[in-house]
């Protein structure tokens, strides 16, 4: 891919994200004119006030309700997409996603435990659930890697996938057990599992943001290594990549992102699978660009999916995971069919 095409891809992805943010904020039960949205956003970021003649109610809605919601959806979408792109590259499997390694199951277990036992850690209060989720997801990846290392000291990708599947199945069964044991909490747990970014507020953004920043910076720095790893670990080693270290780095960074995303929004499927796939078809498989582009596109996509979820049968809100699966699965099927045909 030449430079101009790459530049165009970045430009397109950035516009898509800005468009998604503005529309995501503007549309809702109370419609805010897009121009006002832009004015409010700019006056939030820049020192000069240009939102003087905007309805204060609109400012209020945007700043306290819609903006945090859109930002959270964007951060979750970005986290899942970049983690998906990285995992697909590392595992050399275009069908891998951030959930392959059992990280999301781990995060879910944390959340389900919180909901089931009504745990509330002092001082963090309502953030107990996301915090516990992140902690559980990190524990999961730690155990997955430990177990994989025990099985095979070289920690080949195949071993890691296998271990991930074992852990994932076990943890899912554990979640099912919890659900079966719950009575009244059932709906709460299920709706959390289906994923949502509603009514989270700025606090949740504060939770995901540090994980997001650390995770995505770590991953963005692995573009070339992922390119080399995509040709197998031995070849990557021959090319000069410190395979063990880089692999661990990518796995941990991806897990941090996935864990944090699951912690604040539940399990939202297909984003981490479809977005990198789509970006790869358009912009090529080069991870140096794929990672960043996936972040931008995934972020915009989830904002629009959330918009759809809350407006489709308004005032009832659909779980966002349902929307991503409803859009994602057919899109993915078409993509797969097309690429197979092209291959022949």
């Amino acid at each position: 891919m030449n430079l101009n095409k790459t530049g165009a891809a970045y430009l397109f992805a950035a516009f898509f994200l800005i468009f998604a943010i503005v529309i995501g904020i503007a549309v809702g039960t109370v419609a805010v004119p897009p121009l006002d949205v832009i004015k409010i956003l700019i006056s939030n970021v820049l020192p000069f006030k240009i939102a003087n003649n905007v309805d204060p109610m609109h400012i209020n809605i945007v700043q306290n309700i819609r903006l945090p919601r859109v930002l959270l959806a964007g951060l979750v979408g970005a986290s899942l997409s970049i983690a998906g792109a990285a995992f697909q590259g590392l595992l050399r499997n275009p069908l891998a996603d951030p959930y392959t390694l059992g990280v999301s199951s781990g995060a879910s277990v944390g959340a389900v435990i919180t909901l089931f036992f009504q745990v509330s850690i002092p001082f963090v209060g309502s953030y107990t659930l996301p915090l516990l989720s992140v902690v559980c997801s990190l524990f999961t990846i730690f155990f997955v890697l430990l177990f994989a290392k025990k099985m095979d000291s070289m920690m080949r990708v195949e071993t890691i996938i296998l271990t991930g599947i074992i852990f994932s199945s076990f943890l899912s069964a554990f979640i099912s057990l919890m659900i079966a044991l719950t009575g009244d909490e059932l709906r709460q747990i299920i709706s959390w599992l289906l994923g949502s970014v509603s009514m989270r507020g700025w606090a949740y953004i504060k939770i995901i943001l540090p994980f997001f920043i650390i995770g995505s910076i770590l991953l963005l720095a692995q573009g070339k290594e992922l390119n080399a790893l995509a040709f197998g670990e031995e070849r990557a080693k021959h090319l000069g990549v410190n395979v063990q270290k880089r692999k661990l780095l990518i796995l941990i960074a991806g897990s941090i992102l996935t864990g944090a995303a699951v912690a604040v929004s539940g399990t939202i499927g297909f984003v981490g699978l479809v977005i990198p796939h789509l970006v790869r078809i358009i912009a090529g498989p080069n991870h140096v660009h794929l990672l960043g582009l996936s972040m931008l596109v995934g972020s915009g996509f989830l904002i629009l999916a959330d918009l759809f979820a809350r407006t489709f049968i308004s005032p009832t809100e659909l779980p966002i995971g349902v929307i991503t699966a409803l859009i994602g699965a057919p899109v993915f099927a078409v993509l797969l069919l097309n690429s197979r045909r092209k291959g022949k």
Partner: protein, 488 residues
């Protein structure tokens, strides 16, 4: 450049390599051979740092391999392995550019001019430059191999490790790849260490060969020393024959397939001979190993058809070989399977004889004329004008001849022929001395190569006696027929 010292390697309790030592000089093309499971790939992986030595040490430029950082090592050693995993549709250029990884430092380091030049240069050298914007999946096996080779070259290594580089390549791609490797090793002083399965290719291109056998170094030496029939038979436990390369002083190995010995031995005799007006023909059911002089099929080869064609004594044709081929085709012979000769003698003068016992027999056919008889001892007196052959002798041996026996057969037949001419008092018309033959005689020895090996065919050997007797009789008879016809 690279030194392997007392290296051993085990998988569990299984010993893969034991106490392997050798060193490779700068600019050398070093081949590693051995049967499947002899530890070749393991050895290569030890040299590329994929496996770590359990005992012993690999030194690269005098420094232990373990002391190298992966990135440092990649600047010295590049590896081309057999299999590549291609999960994504990378473009050729992107793949080759990955070869520069070790030379690039920082995370956001964009390719320098030097990087780009190295990538372009590598693609040009391996001939994939025109494919640079193509996705790897769209390429053929040979092209893919060249792309990965370009990647390895873009690393600008001093040592190139190859695991069966010619695997999956067709003949022309194999030759091209190895020609290129040889050229680079000489031009850039690049050290190349490669695993070979094909003994003949290894013999043609390598400076030295290492033969591994059950994890032990059997021999390290020049191809001439390593590719010995005895050595190959021992290491590979298979039946092969060593043959010389037709153009180079490189040993070549021919496989001997296991054949069901046919229950019925082929015996060549007059049943297969057909005499038509313009030619004599032999059509045998199985190819015979033939050594002959003639117009088509001369030299050594395996042939099923033999034709001795009458042409006018004034036959002149610049493209006589083409003309002979079209004659053969016109008579439903495939020129590639046919030894074709010409004679000015009338076909009706031909004489043939089946001679010998059940164990060893020969079938001899001769057409003899003495119009241009020559005394070999005085041949210098003759001009060099060639006329169609006059004494053509075919000798079919029902036996398995050694190469020496082929040559002795020809000597014996030639001596018998000269003896007949002397007895018949045939004179060289130019010198006035006794002739020993004619200026354009042809001969053919064809053997079924079945039965016990026959080592010798000198005049007093059993085979030589049969040939001498048969040739004498047939040439004499054919001359008699000719003389009789000329008198009438």
């Amino acid at each position: 450049m690279l030194k392997v010292e007392n290296v051993s390697f085990h998988y569990g309790s299984r010993t893969i390599l034991s106490d392997v030592s050798f060193s490779v000089r700068k600019g050398e093309l070093f081949g590693i051979m051995g049967p499947n499971g002899s530890g070749k790939t393991t050895l290569l992986k030890l040299m590329s740092g994929i496996h770590l030595c359990k005992s012993g040490e690999v030194y690269i430029k005098g420094k232990p391999l373990q002391d190298y950082k992966q990135r440092e090592l990649a600047k010295i050693v590049a590896v081309l392995s057999q299999h590549a995993e291609e999960s994504f549709a990378y473009q050729v250029k992107e793949i080759v550019a990955l070869g520069r990884y070790a030379h690039q430092k920082a995370w956001l380091h964009s390719p320098t001019k030097e990087d780009q030049e190295a990538v372009q240069e590598a693609m040009k050298t391996t001939g994939v430059h025109h494919l640079q914007n193509t996705a790897i999946q769209e390429l053929s096996g040979g092209e893919k191999q060249r792309v990965y080779l370009a990647q390895a070259l873009a690393q600008e290594p001093e040592i190139l490790l190859l695991d069966e580089p010619t695997n999956h390549l067709d003949v022309s791609n194999q030759k091209e790849l190895l020609d290129n490797l040889k050229e680079w090793s000489q031009k850039n002083n690049l050290t190349i260490i490669s695993i070979f399965h094909d003994l003949n290719l290894a013999g043609l291109y390598c400076d030295r060969l290492l033969m591994l056998h059950e994890g032990i170094v059997e021999i390290i030496s020049s191809p001439q020393q390593v590719l010995q029939e005895k050595m190959i038979k021992k290491v590979y436990q298979t039946d092969i024959k060593q043959i010389p390369h037709p153009k180079l002083a490189a040993p070549q190995i021919a496989l001997l397939p296991k054949m069901e010995a046919s229950s019925k031995r082929l015996i060549i005799d007059e049943r297969y001979l057909k005499i038509s007006k313009n030619h004599l023909e032999m059509k045998v059911p199985k190819p015979l190993k033939t050594l002959s002089s003639g117009v088509t099929g001369a030299g050594v080869g395996w042939y099923t058809n033999f034709v001795n064609r009458h042409v006018d004594k004034n036959y002149q044709c610049d493209h006589y070989e083409e003309e002979m081929k079209s004659y053969l085709r016109a008579h439903h012979f495939i020129p590639e399977q046919t030894v074709g000769m010409m004679t000015a003698v009338y076909i009706e003068d031909a004489a043939y004889k089946n001679i010998g016992s059940e164990d060893l027999s020969v079938f001899i056919v001769a057409t003899a004329g003495v119009g241009n008889a020559v005394d070999a001892a005085q041949a210098i007196e003759h001009s060099s004008e060639l006329l169609p052959g006059t004494i053509n002798i075919w000798i079919f041996v029902n036996g398995a001849l050694s190469e020496a026996a082929y040559i002795q057969s020809i000597m014996t037949a030639a001596e018998a022929k000269a003896s007949v001419l002397r007895r018949e008092q045939v004179m060289d018309p130019i010198t006035g001395t006794l002739a020993t033959g004619t200026s354009t005689d042809s001969i053919l020895i064809a053997a079924t190569q079945e039965g016990d090996p026959i080592e010798f065919a000198g005049t007093i050997s059993p085979l030589g006696k049969l040939i001498a007797a048969g040739v004498t009789e047939c040439v004499t008879e054919s001359l008699k027929k000719r003389n009789g016809r000329l008198k009438n």
